[in-house]
């Protein structure tokens, strides 16, 4: 009995180290994430900005800031900009990734040099987004190589202003996002496909299914949880879209604010020290990403069991 008691206290003595090892995370997270989160929420209820040299506020205004950013069209406009560019990039991204992943995972196809291809398609994901955007800006500028190439080939006679038209500016942002993320998505989906029981494919093959049938009837349904996971994480990433449009348009979101994303708007208010509207925008984003996170959380914990 005494011995047993001693053993338990030994374990308890060890387990206090669990708390000790957690100290750095908890302290740093509380200071640099939790406190700022509360300050942000707190600030969203105050009128607090500079108008010329005059400082207005901080005055408590309740939900006034939230009403303002919804009613003056800022949130609807920038939310839809962000979503349009995200969807335009995500659809080709998921289609290409699904096809590539199916090819890489297909044992009958036996793609040679798949390591090389995977290395190449993943590379854009690691490139500094701001430098990549700057590169695209110079390449697609009015006097840039793309315009002079098109002119030399005789396709256009005048330089096309890629960043002067809503459709081409948004397409450029969507294209860059797609290019930067399809490799990542391919690898995630491939890992999911390799996790599917091989016996299912063999059985389908014996039953005479074509590879298209196998893809739509077996691979896709079994892949659904991972597809949802990829879509939601990509959506959360899309809501944070910033570097690419910010640098392509020099923070203006031109033409006609059509490429202005929510984070660009937030960034603008942080620079001009309009903490009221910036706070309201942050809280709005926090709520959306929080709701989306619940899905990701469910996915992660489901896997644990």
């Amino acid at each position: 009995m005494a011995k047993e008691k001693k053993a338990t206290s030994q374990v308890v003595k060890y387990n206090k180290w669990g708390y000790i090892f957690l100290i750095p995370f908890v302290v740093v997270y509380s200071i640099f994430q939790l406190i700022p989160l509360f300050t942000t929420i707190y600030n969203s209820f105050f009128e607090n900005y500079r108008s010329g040299l005059k400082q207005v506020g901080p005055n408590f205004v309740g939900f006034e800031n939230f009403i303002t950013i919804f009613s003056n069209g800022d949130i609807p406009k920038y939310f839809s900009n962000t979503m349009v560019m995200w969807i335009a990039g995500f659809i080709p991204q998921i289609v290409i990734s699904l096809i590539l992943a199916a090819w890489f995972a297909d044992t009958r196809l036996r793609i040679k040099a798949s390591g090389f291809f995977k290395t190449v398609i993943y590379m854009p994901n690691l490139i500094m987004a701001s430098a990549f955007a700057m590169l695209f800006f110079t390449l697609f500028s009015d006097i840039g190589p793309i315009n002079s190439m098109l002119q030399q080939m005789g396709i256009i006679s005048e330089p096309y202003k890629f960043l002067g038209h809503t459709i081409s500016a948004r397409t450029l942002v969507a294209f860059m996002n797609c290019l930067m993320w399809f490799g990542n998505t391919t690898i995630l989906l491939m890992a999911g496909m390799l996790g599917i029981d091989g016996a299912l494919f063999e059985a389908a093959q014996v039953d005479g299914a074509t590879s298209t049938q196998v893809f739509f009837k077996i691979t896709l349904p079994l892949l659904r949880p991972i597809l949802v996971y990829v879509m939601i994480t990509s959506l959360i990433g899309g809501l944070q879209m910033f570097d690419v449009p910010q640098i392509l348009t020099n923070g203006e979101g031109n033409p006609m604010r059509s490429t202005m994303t929510m984070i660009m708007y937030l960034n603008k208010h942080l620079y001009s020290k309009n903490y009221g509207l910036g706070g309201a925008m942050s809280v709005f984003l926090f709520i959306i990403t929080g709701i989306l996170s619940i899905f990701v959380f469910k996915f992660s914990t489901q896997k644990e069991n």
Binding site: V11, Y14, N15, W17, G18, F21, L22, P24, F25, V26, V28, Y29, Q33, I35, P36, T39, T40, L100, R108, G115, F117, T119, I121, Y122, P124, L126, M128, S130, A131, M134, L135, F137, L139, I146, S148, M149, L188, M190, A191, L194, G195, Q205, S211, I226, T233, D243, I247, L266, N267, L270, Y271, G279, S282, V283, L285, F286, G290, S293, F297, T301
Partner: protein, 288 residues
């Protein structure tokens, strides 16, 4: 199965045709991924005069001259590289070490708050740092950390995503028996973590080091809000400054070289370690 090609089913495309399509698409995508970097390389070797004259696919011989121009130019690109390197290295070391420690605490020990803390970390994993940026800037201004590297480095200690990866890796690679054996041998907990568990975690540490380094090297949003002095700015901020209103006044050769310099280190590291990096992508999020 050597004869599997004979098993290919009638009605679907033959295996040969499908293989051809696959290779054509893959080669097209490879071209789409590499083309921009090829243009970047070509344009880095050309002078401003050549660049304004039009477009070519053949490299010129002004690379060294352009690099020299950047070295003596108005934008402190090399200083920026050094700053980025300092921030990214220290942040990734802290991030990996303390994430492993946090994961170790949750994985090895049993205590009351364990489940709650684990759930909390997973729940906040996807919340972007941008939504707390306002409070973050106010905080660091109040505690006098504005315009310094510290607010870019210290928060790396608390990285839920890295923690999650480490925790998953421990589940597959660090048996509880090892920790218990160390205890029986009289090893203190602190030492068991540092000199027995960490070495076992080496592959995970290496992969996460790379990801953390790249993420910090590429980070633009937070550093742009924190750093104001020109000599303290990191690369992404300097690149963004190139795209300012007087863009047309810059020497284009130097602009391309600056972009190349900010991308090159990551590409070099990636090409050396691509196998581990590509392998590490899937593990953190999807357990096969």
């Amino acid at each position: 199965m050597p004869n599997e090609e004979y098993n290919d089913v009638e009605g679907g495309l033959g295996i040969f045709a499908r293989r051809v399509i696959a290779y054509v698409v893959l080669i097209l995508l490879t071209f789409l991924c590499l083309f921009w970097f090829y243009l970047l390389f070509i344009n880095s070797t050309r002078s401003h005069a050549e660049l304004t004259r039009g477009f070519t696919l053949i490299p010129s011989k002004f690379l060294v001259k352009n690099i020299n121009g950047v070295l003596h130019g108005t934008q402190p690109i090399f200083r920026g590289m050094l700053n980025s390197f300092i921030v990214a290295t220290t942040a990734s070391v802290l991030c990996v070490y303390f994430s492993a420690m946090t994961a170790y605490a949750i994985y090895v020990y049993d205590f009351k708050a364990k489940k709650a803390i684990f759930t909390f970390i997973l729940a906040v994993m996807m919340i972007p740092t941008q939504v707390t940026a306002l409070g973050f800037i106010k905080l660091i201004t109040r505690i006098g950390m504005n315009d310094s590297f510290l607010p870019l480095i210290i928060p790396a200690i608390a990285a839920p995503a890295t923690f999650y990866y480490m925790h998953q890796y421990m589940e597959s690679a660090l048996p509880h028996a090892i920790v218990e054996a160390a205890r029986i041998d009289g090893s203190p907990e602190w030492k068991t973590f540092n000199s027995i568990s960490l070495p076992i975690m080496k592959p995970a540490i290496a992969v996460q080091m790379i990801f953390c380094f790249v993420a910090n090297w590429n980070n633009y949003f937070t550093p742009a809000l924190v750093l104001h002095t020109d000599t303290k700015k990191t690369l992404p901020i300097l690149i963004a400054q190139l795209r300012s209103a007087d863009f047309l006044k810059f020497d284009m050769g130097q602009v391309y070289v600056s972009i190349a310099l900010s991308i090159a280190p990551v590409i070099v590291v990636y090409l050396c370690l691509s196998r581990y990096i590509v392998g590490g992508v899937a593990v953190g999020s999807v357990k096969g």
